[in-house]
């Protein structure tokens, strides 16, 4: 069913953004490839560099490991994996980003570093939201932010459950939405939409298949 619904489109973004500096995972203005050049449509929104004292400070501190952009009015940092968890801790302690809104991941199978792990943070005193993104390879692990925000506990468990990304230092990293013995991580792009762990279904539910 997924096949019929999918209209013929070019594959996901990677080829538009394979830059030599792999950590700069900015989304370029790829509106053009999707639209015919004949229609005089205005260029779509482009991520623009984000300038602010905060950015200046961190750029000075971390140099090329950190890149700051703004897209559609939303600021984000694209950082090196080595900066995690320091940058997160700094953001909480010094910049008062005390509320971790969400932790999630995106899977780009064509890319060398397949996973984008995204933290969305919010600061009550500043009324600002910021995203922090980093790229990790398949099978690599990433430090857990549970010691920084207590809310990261279940959020990281869900990322682990859905993507298989290990978080070092998480007190109890186990599946949260899927049953404990499930094999496979569904939100990866190589997991089919209709796929299920038939073995688990047969053992635990006693039926042939969940379909």
């Amino acid at each position: 069913m997924a096949e019929e619904a999918k209209p013929p489109v070019p594959p996901p973004p990677p080829e538009g953004e394979k830059k030599p500096a792999a950590e700069e995972r900015a989304a370029p203005a790829s509106a053009e490839p999707a639209k015919p050049a004949a229609a005089a449509k205005p260029a779509g929104p482009v991520p623009v560099p984000w300038t602010s004292p905060l950015v200046e400070k961190y750029r000075g501190q971390y140099g090329s490991g950190l890149d700051a952009q703004t897209y559609l009015g939303q600021n984000y940092f694209a950082v090196d994996r080595s900066l995690i968890p320091d940058i997160l801790r700094l953001l909480r302690d010094e910049e008062q980003f005390d509320y971790c809104v969400d932790i999630t991941a995106v899977h780009y199978p064509q890319r060398e570093k397949q996973f984008d792990v995204v933290w969305i943070l919010y600061s009550f005193p500043r009324n600002e939201r910021v995203r922090v993104k980093t790229q990790i390879a398949d099978g690599a692990s990433i430090p857990s932010s549970v010691s920084i925000w207590a809310t990261a506990n279940w959020l990281e468990r869900e990322v682990y459950d859905m993507f298989g990304i290990q978080f070092d230092g998480h007190p109890d990293l186990k599946r949260i939405l899927l049953p404990d013995g499930w094999k496979g991580h569904p939100l990866r792009k190589d997991y089919g939409i209709l796929q299920q762990d038939n073995e688990w279904v047969q053992i635990n539910l006693g039926i042939e298949s969940g379909q």
Binding site: A27, A34, T151, I176, L177, G181, Y191, I193
Partner: protein, 389 residues
Amino acid sequence: MNDSTHDASSRALSNLDLETPEKPYLDSNELIINMGPQHPATHGVLRVILKLDGEKVLGTECVIGYLHRGVEKIAENRTYTMFNPYVDRMDYVAAVSNGLGYCEAVEKLMNVEAPARAKYIRVILTELNRIASHQLWLGTHALDIGAMTPLFYTFRDREEILKIFEKYCGARLTTHAFRIGGCQYETYAGFEKEVKNFLTFVAPKIDEYEELLTTNRIWIARTKNVGVISAADAIALGVTGPVLRASGVKWDLRKAQPYAAYSEFDFDIPTGTNGDTYDRYLVRMAEMRQSLRIIEQAVNRIPEGPIMAKVPKIIKPPVGEIYHSIEAPKGELGYFIVSDGSTQPYRLRVRPPSFVNLQALDTMVRGLLVADVVAVIGTIDIVLGEVDR
């Protein structure tokens, strides 16, 4: 008893035992009790494993995922327009809010804005849904604590809201009321009049609920100082919505980062002081009244104009990412959408308020008695459809 649940229980034990993970299975004073997944008071399929010392709760573990339907995976296989109805099914009690968040997120990604009339209609329907959601919450929460009558009162009054929804978009619960770019349906003839009638109808009813419960000594005894969470804990745990406001943090996304037409209306943010169940009850009652205020202001001056912005028939947002969140009745409902330029989202992440709020259950019930666990689960106001997606 199959393998997976046995695994969960024994691992749950080691998880709860924070001091000495190698303790024997059952201390003579400690008891592991399982609540759910089928239980009259867990508001859905939620399993809570309690570790008790006599009657006191030492720790809890929530086992969720019984209602996991893979909504985020489905989103990657549906176009943006086709995915719109799926969104209602997450928090099915406040479906209109879900739809609002999603439509606004995609509109932001497409860099379009809904016209003013559509925004007003959206605000009115969303606030009506907030009242309906809080009414359902009140009925079920009171029932858990033993007061069986408010349930019927709130459900009867909720009917009026559902009738308005049904006349507007044909559905009572999973409304699919909004479209990307605005609203599809024009307001029906008599919409304003019916909404105004509803306002006069329901205001004394909310007073009726308060009369039954707010000064009732038994209610106060069951809810005061039960399930306390401090403001600092709440922020650290990412709790939002009435739970956060009852702990004293005066923060509401409708005021902090206004969306739809909320910046044009005048309303207050009720807060509590203690962060206990009683405060959460008061905050939600006050929120219902504030919603009435908003609706009253909105329905009197719905602007004329188109209800749909100029969006192409096939929605293809440019490549990029967006995070947009709204103040759903349960908390901050956020959508993180990654677009690859195609008609289907590359990644759609729903940040569910109930999921994050439920995590705070463990902090809230430490040291309480077993009977209070039921009250605290009710006061967090979870909908399992949203927790599990």
